[in-house]
């Protein structure tokens, strides 16, 4: 049904570049965003740290309902923080394809969930919640919906938190699986 070329090239990446350019303009033109930078200091550490701790606590609790999988496996998948491309490749290399596909699916779901429900998250759980939900994806793919529904002044904490989690994800995955 789709034109052939759309089956071969992933255009979503180009759409993302264009989208981030536009979101950048939105943030750069927003006075409150520049004000927010001054308040950033401790948040830059506290937010990603909360996401890491929260992810692991959540995974530990929910994995109690999953008798077929070890805690180590579940934690490694959670340590992707939404970063589905790298986490799935890394986990496949270390633990095999099955867990790698689970990592792909779980982290992709995390990203899509954030994209689709950001507006509800902000409404019921506050403006920082989509940043927490997005995890590593808050720096790029979920940044647009974060700035749209939480406000442009949250763009920068989203980017910083996302970057930190993106960097830590592979280290934590390896640490968990090799321990």
């Amino acid at each position: 049904m789709l034109p052939e070329i759309m089956l071969q090239i992933d255009f979503s990446l180009y759409a993302l570049y264009m989208l981030l350019f536009l979101v950048g303009i939105g943030i750069g033109s927003e006075e409150q965003a520049w004000v927010a930078i001054k308040k950033l200091n401790i948040e830059i550490i506290v937010v990603p740290l909360s996401v890491i701790i929260g992810t692991f606590i959540g995974v530990i609790i929910f994995s109690l309902f999953l008798p077929g999988w070890t805690l180590k496996e579940s934690l490694a998948v959670g340590a992707g923080f939404g970063y589905y491309s790298l986490s799935s490749i890394l986990i496949t290399q270390i633990s095999g394809q099955t867990l790698g596909v689970v990592a792909l699916l779980a982290n992709l779901m995390r990203e899509i969930f954030t994209l689709l429900f950001a507006v509800l998250l902000v409404k019921y759980f506050g403006k920082l919640s989509p940043v927490a939900s997005g995890g590593a994806t808050a720096m790029d793919t979920t940044l647009p919906v974060i700035t749209k529904f939480a406000g442009r002044e949250y763009g920068l904490i989203a980017v910083f938190s996302g970057i930190i989690l993106t960097i830590l994800a592979p280290f934590l995955i390896i640490l968990i699986l090799k321990s």
Partner: protein
């Protein structure tokens, strides 16, 4: 990653330079909304085309779903409580 920063960074710069121009800003707002829809559509496309995802979904989807809900719930909960106690931000 570097391309992402390039596009994002140049956008920020442009936005900063044109912050007084209301027309540009509202145009950018509209374009941003439609770009979000376009991006979501294309992302959905890339998922639907991906055989690995579609093939494995029935088998492994339940496990992945539970893990992602757990991760998201935990992240939001901890961040929420931490923001109340440490960050003293008016969240709601």
């Amino acid at each position: 990653m570097p391309l992402v920063l390039l596009f994002f960074g140049s956008g920020i710069l442009l936005g900063f330079l044109s912050h007084k121009n209301k027309k540009i800003i509202s145009l950018v707002d509209i374009l941003t909304n439609w770009s979000i829809y376009l991006f979501l559509f294309l992302l959905g496309n890339s998922v639907g085309i991906n055989e690995e995802i579609i093939k494995n979904f029935p088998k492994l989807g339940r496990y992945a779903f539970i893990l992602s809900i757990g991760a998201v719930t935990g992240s939001i909960a901890v961040t929420y409580f931490v923001s109340l106690t440490f960050l003293k931000k008016d969240e709601k």
